[in-house]
Amino acid sequence: MSERYDPAEERLGWLLCTPAVLAMLLVTAYPILYAIWLSLFRYDLRFPDERAFVGLANYASVLTSEVWWQSLASTLVITIGSVTLELVLGMLFALVMHRVFFLRRTVRASILIPYAIITVVAALAWKFAFDPVTGFVNPWLGLELAWFGERWSAFVVIILTEVWKTTPFMALLLLAGLTLVPQDLLDAARVDGANAVQRFFRITLPLMRRALLVALLFRTLDAFRIFDTVFVQTRGAQGTETVSIVGYHALVTRLNLGLGSAVSVLIFLCVILIAVLFVKVLGAGPAAEEGR
């Protein structure tokens, strides 16, 4: 494919993008900039008269706070735990959906059901299931455990809820990647004597690197911003508080716009960092060059 420079075409391209760019500026750039601006003030909605410019004091306050670092650690535990499990399970589901020849639509649709359920409802359902008095999990496992009474077990329930709910999304993105792998290549490898495991790791996986990157990136960013599951199940108790809940407390409960905005901006920076890391580490491999 040749790339010929055509100024008219480029102008048309920009023109076509303009509405989208304007909309993005309006609904994303403005709030982001406003949050950055607010984060430089001491500003509590309850005491509007005490509003004052404080520079980076809010950031210093957040970054020196034990609460922030603890919540960041919790968020990372949940993110890494759930995304890893989702990747493995999602890949299995994707392979099943890819291979299945009968009732294809039914299988694909039924795998997607959890993803269609509202997070709060799913979180409540899991909370009730693990409740020591009314839940059914303890009798099944022969345990008498207050699941939300300890940090590790609360994490287990939160991560399982997340995995149950979003694995279908991961599976769907990976399925899209699987369809990119040409059957000829796999057939050729089989003729050359590669077994199923070798074919998967040597051919399928490298070829779907791009889809893998997209799936992992989306899910990691999503998982990092987790709020509802934790809020419903523990309200952040037992050291399960995530950064979003910290931001919520500062902004919504305490109405401290300055401090809350600083937390939001820091979350935003973390998200950017994650995205950059993913693209740099996973995106710049040999497969990416082949794809070009």
């Binding site: 909605l45 309850r46 306050s61 207050a146 009474g149 952040g236 108790a237």
Partner: protein, 426 residues
């Protein structure tokens, strides 16, 4: 190459469509029917309908010859006090004129008053709203010498116990824990140990019973005297570590405690008076053996002091009808309104004389005990930053099993101090 369309595009009539939209919008917005102005009362969704009835009674009697000077529309808020506050403060901070009357949890008075979200009551109206009220209930509606809301309903915790297992209710916490431990499996004490505002309430009651307070008189500085604070923390820790506490204590609220007590496997419960009608309705065989006593003391010589709850009716500062709203608030919270809330809704009144009313006493067979407890009741920290202070307390003291009574006094002082200075995250 551009293809020329062969059929002309259908003629779009922007003007006509816009008018139709505008008409629709107008209809949707001007939903208020003609007649006297409507006052919106934001209050938790009371299930028995007592609030609706109390408001309707006032609206009907408000005008001359039964025409009514105003109407009242109830705007239901969630059951959880934290969530009620969240919804209200978002509207109030934005100056929402839709809020005329507010059913205010007693802890919101300083915050709402200081922020200028509610109106202070003029002297003549305040004098009427003060008449005959229990002092602690009145205190909860007062801030910096002014009355900011009409005391309407009140509440406090009692000790509920099983008369078939215990002959004499325990007088102190240590006594109760010893007794519960000796009863074995069924001795369990139900209390509130989740990390939420209820944990702060538990701590404040214990601290006041031990003779301490969280803030100094002016409400600006941390008090938390060493000895009473340590005593309170010691009891919390002992309870959580005892075999007599529920295994789910660290995630128990009022309702988990109530449900657990109703299943019969517990002997003691610290809870509000709503557990009584609830037990009679859904667990009559338990209610038969349900006794009540004063909240246990920390020291035998010093009667317990328990945290006061309830709601007061305030007037929104951005209301378009402040005078009517004041009249409505005063009327809803008057003796007749309180009797209705008590007999129909089961909410204890703030007018002391009503505790001698036969109808009210029938609803609250423990009326004398309740009134005596309320007369000694303690306020939660009275500061516009109460919410921050409460977060700091419940965070430091959760889970109760990890409290270290010796070290945590200092920790608690530091955290509450930071909350008062609006420092850092909570």
């Amino acid at each position: 190459m551009r293809r020329q369309g062969s059929t002309p595009a259908p003629r779009w009539r922007p003007a006509g469509a816009a008018w139709a939209c505008a008409a629709l919008l107008l209809c949707a917005c001007s939903g208020e029917p003609p007649g006297p102005p409507v006052l919106n009362w934001y209050v938790f969704d009371e299930p028995s309908g007592a609030f609706v009835e109390a408001a309707a009674r006032c609206a009907e009697g408000s005008g001359e010859q039964g025409t009514g000077a105003y109407r009242v529309r109830l705007r239901p808020l969630p059951a959880d006090a934290d969530q009620q506050r969240e919804q209200l403060v978002r509207r109030l901070a934005a100056g929402d004129s839709d809020i005329d009357l507010i059913g205010m949890d007693v802890i919101w008075t300083p915050e709402f008053a200081k922020a200028g979200w509610i109106l202070p009551w003029p002297d003549d109206k305040a004098a009427a709203a003060r008449r005959g009220r229990i002092a602690a209930a009145l205190d909860s509606a007062t801030y910096e010498g002014e009355l900011w809301a009409a005391p309407f309903t009140t509440n406090t915790q009692l000790l509920w116990y099983r008369t078939d297992r215990v002959e004499q209710p325990p007088e102190t916490w240590d006594e109760m824990i010893d007794l519960a431990e000796s009863l074995g499996e069924d001795g369990t004490i139900q209390a509130q140990g989740e990390r939420y505002e209820g944990l702060t309430v538990f701590f404040v009651s214990l601290l006041a019973s031990a003779g301490g307070e969280v803030l100094d008189q002016a409400g600006g500085e941390v008090a938390l005297p060493a000895e009473p604070t340590r005593d309170a923390l010691h009891i919390m820790h002992r309870l959580a570590e005892s075999t007599a506490s529920d295994p789910g204590l660290a995630s128990a609220r009022e309702d988990q405690a109530r449900l657990a007590f109703q299943t019969g496997g517990s002997t003691f419960m610290l809870n509000y008076t709503y557990v009584w009608p609830s037990a009679r309705a859904s667990a009559p065989e338990i209610a038969e053996h349900m006794g009540w006593a004063r909240w246990p003391a920390v020291h035998r010589a010093r009667p317990s002091r328990v945290t006061i709850g309830g709601i007061n009716i305030g007037v929104g500062a951005f209301s378009e009808h402040p005078d009517l709203a004041l009249a409505a608030a005063a009327c809803i919270a008057d003796e007749q309104g309180q009797r209705l809330a008590a007999t129909k809704g089961g909410l204890p009144p703030t007018i002391a004389a009503l505790y001698d009313d036969a109808e009210v006493r029938e609803k609250f067979p423990f009326a004398d005990l309740l009134l005596a407890t309320l007369r000694d009741a303690v306020q939660r920290p009275r500061t516009p930053l109460y919410n921050d202070v409460s977060l700091a307390i419940s965070r430091t003291l959760h889970p109760m099993s990890r409290i270290d009574p010796a070290d945590d006094v200092e920790q608690l002082r530091e955290q509450v101090g930071r909350a008062l200075r609006s420092e850092g995250l909570l």
